[in-house]
């Protein structure tokens, strides 16, 4: 478990928690991952690797719809894509084959154990 209450103030960290809670299988990478590991730099956007199984993609699309993003269905199946949500920009840096997400640790954001890439 990690930064907890600090993480919930970051829109990017909240976005990760909301997407993960909705059933999207993902791993947080990039600046938000470093932030959740304790870096001071406030993340600009959320970078995630997303599991490409249809259940995960469907859950992500459904939650993004509630966050004000109407996702065209063909975008979901691209290898990478970006959208701007009401919690800030989301970069899906890679959609990987089902079950091949990178190694992650669970860090707490507002009571949700969000998978975050292992710190290098």
């Amino acid at each position: 478990m990690g930064v907890g209450r600090r993480g919930e103030r970051s829109p990017a960290a909240l976005l990760a928690a909301v997407l993960f809670s909705s059933g999207a299988r993902l791993v947080v990478v990039g600046g938000t991952a470093r932030f959740l590991h304790g870096d001071e730099h406030w993340p600009y956007d959320l970078d995630v690797v997303l599991d490409g199984c249809s259940r995960s993609l469907g859950a992500a699309a459904s939650m993004l719809g509630r966050l004000g993003v109407a996702l065209p269905s063909n975008l979901l199946y691209r290898q990478s894509w970006s959208v701007v949500t009401s919690l800030g920009p989301l970069d899906v840096v890679a959609v990987v084959s089902p079950g091949s997400l990178p190694a992650a640790v669970s860090l707490d954001v507002a009571g949700v154990a969000v998978p975050v890439e292992v710190r290098a």
């Binding site: 970051s10 829109p11 909301v18 809670s21 004000g68 009401s86 800030g88 954001v109 507002a110």
Partner: protein, 317 residues
């Protein structure tokens, strides 16, 4: 980029073509579709790209020094522009001055340094015309002026929307790439006996609708029943309602929930994406070098008078 004005090739093409179509500041505007067809014919600039640039050059909230004067709906405040056949354009007096400078009929003017390129997705930040032009005039008057005094006159980057600028401004002015944080104003107040927070001066590029959507999805009564309770609570902000009071400028009013601390709610709103954005910024050289180089390249007997004229034109708009 033009050395005379600092404008890009598409901007220059638009201005020169408008001038040749006779659409000067004192003349009737021409239909945007006519202008776009002409710049495609003469400069091979595709109309859709040209129209986007034309809209940028006409918006008060996009550039400090407006070069085009419009009639019709050229978009803004989150709305797309109307089709070019329904809008009209002509040069503003500053646009006409830029054309004259490009044609060597007037002295060079630092429009590119003032307007920057962040509005068009670039990294050069804008500077307020009053301060930047006064810094150049001070430098023309006294080439030995101290660096500190010059930076003091010019000041930090400033955006036409009036948003607050923070971040590593010092590094930026020293010529190093930096991330600027652009923040809207969140001003507390009381209306009809209820505490409100007024959001104005949005950062450039942030659409009013996206802020409204963001706020409305997170008001106190918003439904996140399917999320874990702590996360659902984090998604809810202590605001009871959101009201869009925008007219020509953006004004969003958030009614603070009963019992919530006004300062705390203000702090949470300032952390909302869109109320602030981070933008990468870089100057092509340290600001002092840019200013001194511009003066070295363009100083003539009437340069200071030209800059004063440009400032007067800006202040008249």
């Amino acid at each position: 980029m033009s050395k005379r004005t600092g404008l890009g090739p598409v901007e220059e093409a638009l201005l020169l073509t408008l001038d040749e179509l006779g659409a000067g500041p004192q003349h009737p505007r021409v239909r945007s579709s006519v202008l776009l067809a002409e710049i495609e014919r003469r400069f091979a600039v595709a109309p859709r790209y040209g129209y986007q640039v034309a809209c940028d050059l006409a918006h008060r909230s996009t550039v400090w020094l407006r070069l085009l004067d419009d009639r019709g709906n050229l978009g803004g405040l989150g709305h797309p522009p109307a089709e070019p056949r329904y809008t009209e354009l002509r040069l503003t007096p500053i646009g006409a001055l830029a054309v004259a400078a490009e044609r060597d009929d007037a002295l060079a003017v630092p429009i590119g340094i003032v307007n920057g390129s962040v509005y068009a997705g670039g990294q050069r930040p804008p500077f307020a015309p009053k301060t930047l032009l006064r810094a150049l005039i001070a430098l023309l008057d006294d080439r030995a002026i101290e660096d500190e005094a010059l930076v003091g006159i010019c000041g930090p980057p400033a955006f036409p929307t009036g948003c607050d600028v923070s971040g590593d401004v010092e590094a930026l002015l020293a010529g190093r790439p930096a991330v600027l944080r652009l923040s809207a104003s969140v001003v507390p107040g009381v209306e009809r006996g209820k505490e409100v927070l007024r959001i104005t001066n949005l950062p450039p590029g942030v659409e009013r609708e996206s802020i409204l959507r963001s706020l409305q999805s997170r008001v106190e009564s918003s439904s996140w029943y399917d999320l874990p309770p702590e996360l659902a609570a984090s998604m809810r902000l202590p605001i009871a309602g959101v009201h869009d009071a925008s007219t020509d400028t953006v004004l969003i009013k958030c009614r603070v929930a009963p019992g919530a601390d006004l300062n705390d709610v203000g702090a949470r709103l300032r952390e909302l994406w869109g109320v602030y954005v981070d933008v990468p910024a870089a100057l092509p050289a340290p600001l002092l070098v840019l200013l001194r180089r511009w003066v070295a390249d363009h100083a003539e007997a009437r340069t200071a008078a030209t800059l004063r004229h440009l400032l007067a034109l800006y202040e008249a708009t």
